[in-house]
């Protein structure tokens, strides 16, 4: 109990380039695992497609692609699906698979603010690109200063968008992880107390029987549900902001 600490991602390995130390953290390492697994899955899904679908695999692939295409069409209008649909799919699957890794005992990838911040910055630049593309650079600046009084707030809200997106994702996933580890610690303490009550001297190697079962329920919420919801929320917000930027 007394040594319970909340850590950031573990540094898996590090090397120095000149004076600079490059730290490869758990986040990056785990997202490489995700990258490899998802890439193989995607290549398998996209292989041997027939004009007339005969396999369930192809049906799944078509369903996924159609879902993303429709999402982009509905939100951004027809004709933008070529790049936006696979981009959103990539972000979605990266966040989702990254959070589902915690089911296998890995640290959830999005519980690192460097990861969520990077995705949010990508979204930020995408929104910026669309605003400038559809309104012109002058139009964009004019939009920022449209009620002249609110100019500072408008500029602030530009930067608040990526920060809020990054923090929402990070907070949800890391919060879940913290709560889960708190519960684990509490259950270990409770087990020790029960052992003490029935006269068994508990040392460091006793079996915390209360840790069986109960955390699984929480894990379903924090790892599975929260991961799915937050990754979906992230791409929907991205779409909504881009759509907003177009207008």
């Amino acid at each position: 109990m007394d040594n319970f600490t909340i850590n950031g991602p573990r540094v898996v390995f590090k090397f120095t380039v000149g004076d600079y130390t490059v730290r490869i953290t758990e986040t990056l390492f785990n997202s490489w695992i995700v990258l490899i697994i998802v890439s193989l899955l995607v290549i398998w899904l996209g292989s041997r497609l027939k004009k007339v679908p005969v396999t369930k695999k192809q049906a799944v692939a078509e369903m996924a692609v159609n879902f993303m295409n429709k999402l982009v069409d509905d939100n951004l209008g027809i004709g933008l699906r070529l790049y936006y649909a696979p981009y959103l799919a990539a972000v979605f699957i990266l966040i989702l698979a990254g959070s589902l890794l915690s089911l296998f005992g890995f640290r959830a990838v999005p519980s690192d603010v460097s990861f969520t911040g990077t995705l949010a910055i990508m979204t930020f630049f995408m929104i910026l690109y669309n605003k400038i593309k559809y309104n012109g650079f002058g139009g964009y600046l004019k939009g920022l200063a449209s009620p002249a009084v609110l100019t500072p707030f408008n500029i602030l809200s530009e930067f608040a968008t990526p920060v809020s997106m990054a923090m929402r994702l990070f907070g949800n996933l890391s919060g879940g992880a913290i709560i889960t580890s708190l519960i684990y610690a509490a259950l270990a303490g409770a087990s020790a107390a029960v052992y003490g009550l029935i006269g068994i001297v508990a040392d460091n190697y006793y079996f915390s029987f209360l840790q069986v079962g109960i955390p699984a329920v929480l894990s379903i919420y924090f790892d599975l549900f929260s991961g799915v919801i937050q990754s979906y929320v992230f791409i929907i917000l991205t779409l909504a902001y881009i759509k907003n930027g177009k207008e």
Binding site: T27, S31, V34, G46, V65, A89, A90, S114, T118
Partner: protein
């Protein structure tokens, strides 16, 4: 080796760059190996369906145009046959009229000829009768006067006499 942890809320440049690269790589993989392929297949399928519909429409239109064409042909054939029948009837009528008028002409000719024949026969018969009567009269007269008459002078006389009789009859 001691395990090193990052701070809970820390920005690590290598993670940022790595995440950026990861996202781009995953984007490319998903686009190239899944979306592009599936979209191509879906487009192929849609094109085929559209083509099938188009073909069906074309076939239907063809059938319809052929039907109207046949109907036109059929009605024109009917008209043609009616025309032929009408022409034939007209021709037959003309021929009939011709025949009838020919027959009438023939009949009239025959009647005329018969009439003139009768007239001629009648004239001949009358002349013959006149001759006979004049002969009889001469022979009667010869018998009466018992004397050879100048047959030519008396013949003239008798002929006048008979002619008067004949005109009177």
């Amino acid at each position: 080796m001691e395990i090193e942890y990052m701070d809970f809320l820390s920005f690590e440049p290598s993670t940022i760059v790595g995440t950026l690269l990861n996202a781009l790589i995953l984007f490319w993989v998903i686009k190239h190996f899944l979306f592009d392929k599936v979209n191509a297949v879906l487009k192929q399928r849609n094109d085929e369906v559209a083509k099938t519909y188009e073909d069906a429409d074309t076939a239907l239109n063809n059938a319809k145009s052929m039907e109207t064409q046949y109907m036109e042909k059929l009605s024109s054939a009917k008209e043609e046959s009616a025309e032929i029948v009408k022409n034939a009837t007209k021709k037959a009528q003309v021929r009939y009229d011709e025949i009838v008028s020919d027959a009438k002409d023939d009949a009239r000719g025959i009647i005329d000829k018969a009439g003139s024949d009768i007239e001629r026969e009648k004239k001949r018969a009358v002349n013959q009768i006149k001759d006979e009567i004049s002969g009889i009269a001469i022979s009667i007269a010869q018998k009466v006067v018992k004397k050879e008459l100048d047959s030519r002078a008396h013949e003239q006389l008798i002929e006048d006499f008979i002619g008067e009789i004949g005109d009177a009859t």
